[in-house]
């Protein structure tokens, strides 16, 4: 019941109505239908690592389940769910920084490589991986905005809602990410447009 990548069709009023009737289970089912993919994508964008993103998405949704009874509709359902998810991801990132400072192995090594059941048409093309590696080199915030922008079908408003910031901030982040990526390509001699056009043709 959610659009391919756009806004979920689950309405706040519908969930609120179910909660008022004491149908918490059904309300949560509606939340899952509308938001589980979005929550997972937000976790992927913020954490950049599939296994951690799965854990974070699961814990976020468990928190939503626990807090659902107290949801009173004052905040939009999506904003509320995304705020819970962001908090969970921030904790995961803080833990990761602690481990990194103790010389733990690299977390981002396998980043967002597709799962076994997800086959990319051009996965054999090394350029896909090359570009993913370059994105990994961007500063954290720029990386997060850029990932989410493409995950959410280039919707700035949706990215802003999910990150809980104004659209202008998202645009600024995208502008900086684009500029940093262009500088990286220039430095590595990969700034030839035809090189990237071949990848997508």
């Amino acid at each position: 019941m959610n659009t391919a990548l756009g806004r979920p069709e689950t309405s706040d009023a519908e969930v609120l109505g179910l909660l008022r009737r004491g149908a918490r289970e059904q309300a949560f089912a509606r939340v899952l239908e509308g938001y589980e993919q979005k929550v997972f994508r937000l976790c992927c964008a913020l954490l950049g690592e599939r296994t951690q993103a799965e854990d974070a998405a699961q814990e976020s949704l468990l928190r939503v389940w626990h807090a659902l009874e107290r949801y009173d509709g004052r905040a939009g359902l999506s904003s509320w769910i995304y705020a819970i998810t962001r908090n969970r991801c921030l904790s995961a990132l803080a833990h990761r920084r602690t481990f990194d400072s103790l010389d733990a192995p690299e977390w981002g090594e396998h980043s967002l490589e597709p799962a076994a059941d997800e086959v990319l048409p051009n996965a054999s093309d090394g350029r896909v991986q090359q570009l993913r590696d370059l994105v990994e080199l961007l500063p954290e915030r720029q990386r997060q905005v850029l990932r989410l922008y493409y995950f959410e079908d280039r919707s700035v408003s949706e990215v802003a809602l999910m990150l809980g910031c104004p659209e202008g901030t998202v645009k600024t982040g995208l502008f900086r990410a684009r500029a940093a990526l262009a500088a990286l390509l220039e430095r590595r001699g990969l700034a030839d447009p035809s090189y990237w056009q071949e990848m997508t043709s």
Binding site: V128, F151, A182
Partner: protein, 135 residues
């Protein structure tokens, strides 16, 4: 990137390449079952345990925020002090030459030069910020 300032062939090519490289990841099929199992496990968990875990997490977040805040303050203070020392050193080095060319007007010239530089830097920063916001 299509609607926000794509102005070159490279940008367009990169936009399409990024779209391909950063495809939205799909949830694994086992996710819903695992979530259900975790929910059932949590039903039996003591509320106090959950609260304690959340409090620890909250404290960790506050510590991280505090550390980031202190780091930003240190960076800002360092930049200000560095700039002030650099400006002072520049003025001391340039003063003899300015005195020989402009006489008693030299100190005033340095002061106005500093003001002009400050205004220029401020305007450049503001322009950069506004420019990026509108793109």
């Amino acid at each position: 990137m299509s609607e926000h300032g794509i102005d070159s062939q490279l940008d367009r090519a990169l936009d399409a390449a990024l779209e391909q490289a950063l495809r939205p990841p799909g949830l694994p099929q086992r996710f819903r079952a695992e979530l259900g199992a975790a929910r059932r496990r949590l039903e039996h968990l003591d509320v106090a345990q959950v609260r304690a875990r959340l409090q620890i997490e909250h404290r960790e977040q506050l510590t991280t925020l505090q550390a980031d805040f202190v780091r930003i303050r240190r960076t800002t203070l360092g930049t200000l002090l560095g700039a002030a020392f650099a400006a002072g050193a520049g003025a001391v080095i340039a003063m003899p030459w300015l005195r020989s060319h402009f006489g008693p007007l030299a100190p005033m010239l340095i002061a106005w030069g500093g003001v002009a530089l400050g205004v220029l830097l401020g305007m450049a920063a503001l322009r950069g910020r506004l420019g990026m916001q509108t793109r």
